[in-house]
């Protein structure tokens, strides 16, 4: 089991966001979480990553069978969890190159071959169709929305995580960039087949390119329905309310039939 979330309840400023939440991701699986605004999707991703704004009031998170509730964010990242953020931070004065070199150097316990680093960066820039000069620019400063998202994927390619969480990676991307990002994720996954992927999205279109094993609907801090790719299609056609309502009606019908 790559990621196991067990009976997790999470609050922020005393307000419960996740409520007795359960999710399991095995190595190599791709899961998608879809849900309306405010359903707790980003809270889930940041809680997995250890953002201390969120209080775990109950439950546990395991990564590769290790309980990580008490690990710091950087420790979780070094275990191999990567969060591509919905709104990547701009950091003035810290260059992309310095940032990546520092992160890789820590990951490799201080050992970093500059030649190999440069080659790897160049390859990643090329495959993401990004301007190579961005490596010398301050982190995300002056980047367009799409460039920031690509920069998140660039970091993913450089850091080689075991679990990739993509929090609305598709927002801000034009159609061509969306395909490039998806192609890079697929290529990474093909090269590293044990990698788990958790995609958080509002939209179906990313799933045209990255085929999920499971699609979950999240409502009010809980998974309310799980299905496959077809469930995402249903959502696209009918919306969250209708799908959830249909689900409730079929459950009532099922219960009536049983009676």
């Amino acid at each position: 089991m790559l990621l196991k979330i067990e009976n997790l309840s999470v609050s922020i400023d005393g307000k419960k966001i996740l409520n007795d939440y359960n999710l399991q991701i095995n190595s190599g699986e791709t899961h998608v979480i879809m849900g309306p605004n405010g359903s707790g999707k980003s809270t889930l991703s940041k809680t997995i990553m250890g953002d201390n704004h969120y209080d775990i009031t109950n439950g546990n998170i395991y990564f590769n069978n290790q309980k990580i509730n008490d690990l710091k964010t950087d420790e979780r990242a070094r275990l191999g969890i990567f969060l591509a953020m919905q709104s990547p931070m701009e950091i003035e004065g810290v260059s992309n190159a310095d940032f990546l070199r520092t992160a890789l150097s820590i990951k490799n316990s201080g050992d970093i071959n500059l030649y190999e680093f440069a080659k790897k960066v160049e390859k990643a820039f090329s495959s993401l169709n990004m301007d190579k000069n961005m490596i010398h620019r301050s982190l995300n400063v002056g980047f367009s929305g799409g460039e920031r998202k690509k920069n998140e994927i660039l970091q993913m390619l450089m850091l080689e995580p075991k679990l990739i969480i993509l929090d609305e990676i598709d927002s801000g991307l034009d159609i061509d960039s969306l395909k490039i990002v998806a192609d890079n994720i697929n290529a990474y996954k093909n090269a590293n087949p044990n990698t788990g992927v958790l995609i958080i999205t509002h939209h179906y279109r990313l799933l045209d390119y990255i085929k999920p094993d499971y699609v979950h609907i999240m409502t009010c801090g809980k998974i309310t329905k799980t299905g496959d790719y077809q469930l995402a299609l249903e959502l696209e056609n009918h919306g969250f309310n209708v799908v959830n309502k249909l689900d409730k009606q079929s459950a009532i019908k099922e219960n009536t039939d049983h009676e």
């Binding site: 964010t73 950087d74 070094r78 950091i91 003035e92 004065g93 810290v94 940032f99 992160a103 301050s138």
Partner: protein, 256 residues
Amino acid sequence: MNKIEVVSDNVILNDVKDSITTYSDNGILIINCKKDSEVLLINNVYKEIVIEVSNDVVLNILEIKNDSNNILNYKYILNDNSKAIINKFYYLNKYNENIDINLNGYASDVIFNLSVASFDNQKYNINVYHNNKKTVSNIFNHGVTFDNSSIDFTINGTIKKGMKDSILNQDNKIMVMGNGKSVINPNLFVDDDLIEARHGASIGKFSEDEIFYLETRGIPRDIGYQLLMKGFLLNTLVVNVETLKELETIVEKLRR
């Protein structure tokens, strides 16, 4: 490039001939740059330094200081079409410095980058006088305070009447790593309508969101602060790659 170095009270003229002249007496050092030049000052002990830049000359100054047992006064004088790029990197205890920048010449232009790490109370009075037309000043003061230390930046930008088409820009920021109380007084004294003047000032802490972002890439908190400090203190300085590396090493050793 003509280059002189001032280390403590020792003035080293690297075969500059008559491109740069210097004169020192009674704790005062006068440097006159007549051709494009570089000046490096390391822990100078003069109580007053006067640097004059001749017409059409570009001067690049780098000053590094970590010895703070004195109060220093600086006077920069820029003549017609001259430009001075003044970079100061200090990591100091108690210290006071007074700086007068006189833009006397037509279209004279100064970029002033002061980056300081403070371990005690420091005070900087910076006066920029636009004494001619089409003069430009860009003043960037960045400070980081540790423990109970503080920084006081007082910046007075003055544009007299008739000095049209002048541009005055001030950007002042202090990052607080401890509990000390710092002050920024960004003053503009403007007596002409046909100019541009901007000033900004902020005192705060490094953003927790920025630190979190770095942590999500496996960078521990203390190294994250180092990265942010390096960016904050060194990003504005106009220095070569080798010098930048040296300054980065210094910042990495600054205690949180």
